[in-house]
Symmetry: D2
Subunit: 313 residues, 4 copies
């Protein structure tokens, strides 16, 4: 029951306008110093439907740090490389604790619960890195983002990467912890170097929504016709986004928005309406679970007004 294109733009613009007027904007992440410089007034929203129509409003062309959203794409790459063998190194269950928790790791012999918590994404990065130099692995990830995002200008924000390299002690703890259990195969500094850099990739809402289209359409970009993954794999990545995509707010996101999605502490969220659209939203202020405060609200309104919930329409 997708609305026609002019209606879609109308809904997008209405929501963007409502968001701009809201006084509650969450808190900009400060744990990576460089991210703290983001303007909490920024807001961007882009929806690309099955026909390739683009509805956009706000700061939809401004690149922001995609942070954990990159984990969707590194997961896709790693599955492409090693297939289901990936699941020997990382689980598929929601974590039930805060987003960079180390407790659950210990109880499970170093195997991270899922590929979207930090520990899991570091393990996935280690799989991509396997047998290569960090520079090569990072180049591969970046080229994959440029390919699915259909824009060769997508690049890494080196200031953000350097900022996290200097301050990412918690991630360094997680990585060394997994290394002590043999979950990581490469030198910790190599794996973390690639991880910090792919989290620092900067993309605009338009680029991100473009990059997510293959997940909305059974693994295939409907414009180019190029298949990125098999249909089953696309469904499964969506399932993981739904159950694990928003740290300890994943249940809340499923309950309120009803779409698979992945958030990043840069304030971006990529959401997928299967068969209907790929959506990217950005607003730097975060809620206590570390997800974009206005981004989540905007997606809740969008899914409701367009009847896009996967749980009944």
């Amino acid at each position: 029951m997708t609305k026609a294109q002019p209606e879609l733009q109308l809904v997008v613009s209405e929501i963007a306008e409502e968001m701009r007027r809201r006084p509650d904007r969450g808190e900009v992440a400060t744990y990576i110093p460089e991210l703290a410089r983001a303007d909490p007034q920024s807001f961007g929203l882009v929806v690309i439907d099955a026909d390739g129509h683009v509805a956009a409003d706000g700061d939809s062309e401004t690149p922001f740090s995609i942070q954990s959203i990159s984990k969707v794409f590194t997961l896709t790459l790693a599955l492409g490389k090693v297939g289901d063998r990936l699941w020997r190194r990382v689980g598929r269950e929601p974590s039930g604790t805060a987003f960079n928790s180390i407790v659950q790791r210990e109880r499970e012999q170093g195997i991270p619960r899922n590929p979207f918590i930090n520990a899991g994404a570091i393990a996935v990065t280690d799989v991509i890195l396997s047998g290569h130099q960090p520079r090569e692995a990072l180049g591969e990830i970046l080229r994959f983002l440029q390919f699915v995002g259909q824009d060769t200008s997508i690049t890494i924000d080196e200031a953000v990467a350097a900022s996290e390299q200097r301050t990412g002690f918690r991630n360094r703890a997680l990585a060394n912890y997994m290394k002590s259990f043999g979950v990581l195969e490469n030198p910790v500094d190599f794996t973390l170097g690639v991880y910090f850099h792919h989290c620092a990739i900067a993309m605009s809402c338009r680029q991100l929504a473009t990059a997510g289209r293959f997940l909305a359409h059974l693994g295939r970009n409907p414009d180019t016709g190029l298949s990125v993954v098999q249909p089953e794999r696309a469904r499964r990545i969506n399932a993981l986004m739904l159950t694990c995509g928003h740290y300890d707010g994943s249940g809340e996101f499923a309950y309120r928005v009803g779409l698979p999605g992945k958030s990043g502490v840069g304030g971006g969220i990529l959401a997928i309406a299967p068969g209907k659209a790929s959506i990217a939203v950005w607003s730097p202020g975060l809620d206590p679970s570390g997800n974009s405060h206005l981004g989540r609200i905007a997606l809740e309104l969008l899914a409701k007004r367009l009847g896009w919930s996967i749980f009944g329409a």
Copy 2:
């Protein structure tokens, strides 16, 4: 892309046949002594589509102990009674630990993580009980099941209830633990009495699939036209089933089956294909996470062959 009715029956029968031939059947639950008497060879599958067509095979008319599947209906009832105030007493996040774990309780001041783990379902039962006698509350729950299941013969298996009353020490620990934090308002024995009894309700796959139809169709039974809950609430209950419906195997179920569902240690699973069908499956053997082993496999095949995954079709 729902297949026509004759095809639906064909798919159901094929899957039932495949299941009957499989040697791996999981382990029948023994922690409630009475459940250990179930026949591991039993298998039933019923699908009711949007038009009310029923496709059934196997032991589809045999009542079994619905156990935790009752939590879907007590949640529905409690939301009807107190609305969103329910969420002051129970959370909405996946638990990330084994199905009757007490650890996460402690770290969160006695508030259970979600309404589908045992602690959460006990808290929900306490809300339904509030201000009534156990007998009245239990009567209300049973009548609700008879109403949505469209069968007044649905009843409680007193032998199972008594068996769990005698042996449910873990649940008694959970309830007293919550009571110590003031999360339960009624006497612990009252709340547990109602809880043990509603878990002991016996239903057949046909009755259970009938009872779930309102969740598949925006809160309304398409045959009777009677509305049980508002559309948004139906979607949200589905969302909770998807993220939390299978204990520590919820992520796995979403990943493999791609449908909201709720399992019970009696070997039943209720699954919802939003807009398409309500599905009940029963096979008493469980996997290590406590979910029906063949039930989950049957649903995976069904969703795949009919293209019913909510994550892309």
Copy 3:
């Protein structure tokens, strides 16, 4: 280097006087309603040396609820009954978490860490109860206290016992939790009934210091000459008091006071100076770890002024 008796009384009186003048008195326990009625101004101190000289000051004859101090005596009784087989049901390691925590239980299959945390003391009570009626077991415990306390007037404060029976949900959770693992052999209500009642035994500082004399003198009361336990067992009970006797403040007590001791939330502490003296102190205000605030300070001063630390004098 024990000081002579007149000096001992002088030191005791000096300390009691200092304690009476201190404005900081801790917080009276409120989690058992009946205990909340204690007068925070109360203070008693009794020291009985190897020769049986008694130095006392303050409210040394006023009975108070000994609460967890009773665990020293139930441990002694249980070891007498089953010897080292007791250690199949309870461990000997400090717990490292708050005094009634349930978390560590879960990780260790229901086996409590030591006999002085609540779970462990409940398991010890279950051993004493084994094969008897609660009334008989309780009678045995009470008679043992009267024997070692050399006073048949020692009795149970029924109001305190009833108060905890009504409100002890956390202990009921712990007991049911252990029952679910088979750590308890008797009906949970039987074991808890005995536990709540022996915690409600009321004794004065004089009675308590008398009762502890066998621990100070290799298992034997030097006055009566009667042996309660073998020397090695007395030493080992002292060791357990030192490592586990003060909940999550056990390390602090060892560090500051340097004597084996056991505290109760009624504000009492029994401390042992091996070879030198048995000491009882009482002041109802507790510190954040649940130990008598002034009681601990008084013992620190006493051990320092008399050179009684077991860690070097």
Copy 4:
């Protein structure tokens, strides 16, 4: 009731002989590859009494890797530098979990439970390092060991230090974890470098027993008359050794041996009989808690035969 010198040598020799004949020798540590090369047949025992008489038997002059025993001396040094301010960075309670656990760290905002678990000892090392180069800090620690051990030949086993530098991922995780909470002030690699090296100091039983004499005699070496710490501080270090000195086997050691002690995974144990003797034992095979198997048994026999338990003699 110290026995005369010839008797002491007799007891020491008897015990050494018994130990040499025992077939059960525990498991040599393998987690630091270099340590795995130790000969499980090695056994040394040295006791130095208050008069300076030395009773020795077995491999008493062979240097071994003191590992965690070094934590007693770094604690002494750090207390000398910053006094009780040290306790802002590390606690004083037994840990209640395995020896290098990270779980308890997380629940307490990165503050380690005590100075003898790895995390706590790393924090203590960070205090010693403060404002200096790693080489200087390490030199200071080594010179302190040479001073109290009265032997300038005491040195660092560089092969062991290098081995742990290469493989100490768990410690690297702990250090980064604390760094993320601001518990460490120096660069993680600096602090760990010093930590790995002071754990790799090699000493013989004779050197170690000599080094511990100040703890047995109120902070002062009775031979040289030189005071290392004040009496109260010596008592308190002994108290910490008793409650926290043997990882998750500390309660067991107190219960069986009844002396303050500190073990290392190299198989050494330093034990203190306050007022009576300083004792060092070495046997590389470890028990499941990571403490020297025969070392603990030898000390239990020694304390029993000489009546040295601090819990009653």
